[in-house]
């Protein structure tokens, strides 16, 4: 048998005592870089831009048709933007940054390394937040600028509210992609049934509605009678948003720590 020539000697294993903070940062950068390329490289990444493009097109058309009507900006860029564009974009991105690798099995290459699981979750989560902010919060800001003719409180409110929504929604959706293989279905059910129906009719349901947290933040900043129809106050939105974000990230890290591969076909 002709044996393959194998270089002798160890392959420079990691030296102990290096700055863990620095090295975790490098691990995080590797994961974030791969995640960004994987997410944006897929054809469905084009989907991310479609809701934002629609939002901006509608805003421009309404601005041309009703340049002095003060009611439509909060209705279109606020209500429509925060109940449709924001949750759907966050759903697609948040469930794909980790869920796609779980589905196709490539996550094993990442998990068969000594990377702490919180670094994996955190890196993926940050990428999801950045992408969602880019595809929703920035368009919301642009739409607000177009609709109100400048950097008004409403425009700022829409931007910050969408940022808050990007942060909270993605924590929920990344968590869903770790704990279930049907993250998109459950995420869609949450957005449509819980937020779209229950939260509009049952005031208590708004306490667990990320869409209402986002509107609450936007309304708290705009607070000039912008009619954003927020069901909860700024303070409640911020507190609940922080709790939901922290809780879902902790759940995601714990679930990923127990990530299991299916065994033989049985």
């Amino acid at each position: 048998m002709n044996h393959t020539a194998v270089p002798a000697g160890p392959l420079t294993p990691g030296a102990p005592g290096e700055s863990s903070q620095t090295m975790f940062g490098d691990q995080g950068r590797v994961i974030a870089s791969i995640t960004m390329r994987a997410t944006m490289g897929r054809k469905r990444a084009l989907l991310f831009a479609i809701p934002a493009v629609i939002l901006l097109l509608v805003t421009v058309l309404l601005k041309l048709a009703h340049p002095h009507d003060p009611t439509w900006p909060s209705q279109v860029d606020g209500i429509f933007g925060f109940t449709v564009v924001l949750p759907l974009t966050a759903l697609i991105i948040g469930t794909s940054v980790l869920g796609a690798e779980v589905d196709d099995g490539s996550i094993v290459h990442l998990l068969a390394t000594p990377v702490p699981r919180w670094v994996v979750i955190w890196s993926k989560y940050v990428v999801a937040v950045v992408l969602t902010a880019a595809f929703v919060a920035v368009p919301e800001l642009l739409a607000g600028l177009i609709a109100t003719g400048g950097l008004t409180k409403l425009a700022a409110g829409l931007f910050v509210g969408a940022l808050a929504g990007s942060v909270i929604y993605n924590a929920v959706f990344v968590m869903l992609s770790v704990v279930t293989t049907r993250a998109i279905a459950y995420g869609l059910a949450y957005v449509v049934v819980w937020e779209g129906l229950l939260a509009n009719f049952v005031s208590g349901a708004r306490l667990l509605s990320v869409g209402h947290y986002s509107l609450g933040v936007a309304n708290g900043i705009a607070h000039d009678g912008s009619n954003l129809n927020a069901g909860i106050s700024l303070g409640t939105s911020v507190v609940m948003g922080l709790i939901v974000t922290a809780a879902t990230i902790v759940i995601a890290v714990r679930a990923l720590s127990s990530f299991s591969l299916k065994g033989d076909a049985i």
Binding site: T4, A5, L11, P13, G14, E18, A112, F259
Partner: protein, 348 residues
Amino acid sequence: MSGGGRSAGAGGARGRARSAGAGQAERGGGTSRARGRGKQSTVELRNVSRWYGNVVAVNDITMTIGPGVTGLLGPNGAGKSTLLHMIAGFLAPSRGELTVAGAASWRNPDIYRTLGLVPERDSVYAFLTGAEFVTASARLHKLPAPGAAARRAIEMVEMTGAQDRKISTYSKGMRQRIRVAGSLVHDPEVLLLDEPFNGMDPRQRLHMMDLLHSLGEQGRTILFSSHILEEVERVSGTIQVMVAGRLAASGDFRAIRRLMTTRPHVFLVRTSDDRALGATLIGRPAVTGVEVTDHGLSVRASDYGTFSREIAALTKNQGIRLRELLPEDESLESVFAYLIDADGPRAR
């Protein structure tokens, strides 16, 4: 395959195979490097079981695997992947103790400083180049010189020439080798490979076999699963045979192979005169039973080689035309079943 209902005779056959073996899995590679690695590369399982609801996938397995190449052999569904996933820390044992280099692998990411895994599923970041993939792996392992470590690992699998191409352009064998490089970049003591030869062409198989052999010679503990006897035969002197979730045999490959080849075989023989041939066959020492069926003669032979040689001469001497000679029980399952069934293979 369910592992719950087929336990009869396992202990007896296990003892037979083990006693016949020249050595146990611990025997290992025997190089100076192997001696230097010692317990750092030992995988130990003690009474490990894994079940899903009422289905037992892995049933009370105890084994120790040391330096060198060990083949984990068994038919599809025998529990090989489940066992490998447990060793690799990707599945919790339902019962029993499992350690790699003295530490539990489940929920212990630090174990991957010692352990490398090449999973069966051929999914990899196809948009990366080979070099990017292996370097990323090195950085995730926090190696101080990830570029140099990646180059050496890629050289080890002889992929230097293709390292700057995207993985999406690789053949199946190249993808497998780059995945091995990614798993080797941190110089693990233990390397696990789940069905590493699946989908490879013969040349790629030989290449992978040589690589595994070389890694074992270096004193690493290499454990790979396969359902193909010949793959294990070429690479590994030590095997663990799993059947229906149980450890059916363990030890030196040649001794177990001997048990497999000297087991009774059942052949279906179709000739121009089945009854005449049957009457002759029943008098032969190598034949233990003959049955005339609608499809031909079902012949039970105690010795594969002798029967195969005799049948040709007998039919020629009697002027009988031999139309068909088919082994009826050559499925791998029946071969393995023999190892756990004292009564020999059963018709399936």
